[in-house]
Every structure is written in structure tokens, then in C-alpha cells.
Amino acid sequence: MKNKISIKITSKKLNMQTCYDLVSDDSSGGIAFFVGTVRNITKGKTVNQLDFSSYETMAEKEMKKIALQTFKKYDIIKIAIHHAVGELQIGDIPVIIAVSSAHRGAAFDACQYTIDTLKQTVPIWKKEHFDDGEVWVNTHP
């Protein structure tokens, strides 16, 4: 299983080609990706900058759990789950998920399951900076 799962939390820029190379496989029929985008407007206000922070050791464990669950649920070949932390500028990529499978339906399903679950369980937090202050996303009713 070791070279079938790539988990990364990094303060460097995420790279789609790196993820492609990690999950690409001779028996793959194709690769499904989810690539996060940083919006520059939240609720009508301009976001100047974003900070992502994580409970890194636990986040990696949770990401690995998701990867293992994904292998149980779907017929996939390899998966990469990479998340950026630190200061992100507008246009930077916070998350990339890449999944290869012999059957593209399974690749799509697994990719969607992974991002949905990551957003619910992985201890990573996003703070948005505006001209008039800053907000931890999701923290207030």
C-alpha cells in the first residue's frame, strides 16, 4: 500500500504534475483530479490573503485514513492527497486530490468521496484576511 498512497501537507506550492506522476500507472484508464481554488471574494468582501494552519501529525493520520477508506470503497490504483498550509495568495492552490483507476467512474467517485470527507474530518483551518479584519472560516454560526 505504501507506494499507492501519497499524503502531503506542505508550505510549498502544490503541483498538479507532481500529483499526476505519483498516481499515474500503466494499468490506469485515467486520472480524476480535484483542485481547490482560492476565491478572492467571500460574502461580497475582497479577500486579501489566506492562512491555512493544521494539526499536522493528526491531519496526516486523518488523510491516510481517508485514503485507506477510499481503497476499501472503490476499485482504484493510486491516490494522492496534498494540502498546502501557510500563507496563500489569491490564485494559489490549497488542495489537490488525484486518483487513478482502471475505470474512470471509480476514479471520479473516489476523488469526490475524498474531498468531501477531507472537508469534514481533517484538522486544517482557513483564516481569511480582509481590509477590515480577519475571519476563521466556519467557526461562527
Binding site: 493544521s54 467557526t139 461562527h140
Partner: protein, 80 residues
């Protein structure tokens, strides 16, 4: 009983530390620990339901905390 407590996200901003050793007098569950923390740091009450992890695993409110555990306060996550 000494508990290493980690604070993340907005909890870190409210508490003013990312990590603190907290001394507990008696056996404590996560639920009781949450009550203690929200009394100590009143602003934590304004945050949407936050979760706890014990030794890097999510823990429910009836989970018993043991000596030398690392307890993390996990505000609503917003990765992705």
C-alpha cells in the same frame, strides 16, 4: 494529573497559546474538560461546536482523559 493541551485555529487566538500544560484535580472526561475550558476561556462559547482529539484521534465527550495524554481543541475544520 497533567494534560498537554493544544489549541488550533480560533481556539489558539482566543486562548493566546498554541500549547499549555493543564493540571486537573480528578479523573475527567472530554465533556467535563470542555466545560472547564469554556469557563476558563469564556470566548470559546461563541465558537461553533468544536471537537476534541486525544493523542491525535477524535474523542467523544464521554472519553476518559489519562495522565500525560495530549488533548487537542479542534474548532470546525475548513480545509480543502
Amino acid at each position: 494529573m497533567k494534560i498537554r493541551t493544544l489549541f488550533f485555529g480560533i481556539a489558539k487566538d482566543i486562548v493566546g497559546h498554541s500549547s499549555k500544560i493543564i493540571e486537573l484535580k480528578k479523573k475527567t472526561t472530554i465533556g467535563q474538560f470542555q466545560v472547564y475550558l469554556t469557563e476558563e476561556y469564556i470566548d470559546l462559547k461563541g465558537v461553533n461546536n468544536f471537537a476534541f482529539a486525544v493523542n491525535e484521534e477524535y474523542a467523544t465527550s464521554d472519553h476518559q482523559i489519562n495522565e500525560n495524554d495530549t488533548v487537542a481543541v479542534i474548532p470546525p475544520v475548513s480545509g480543502g
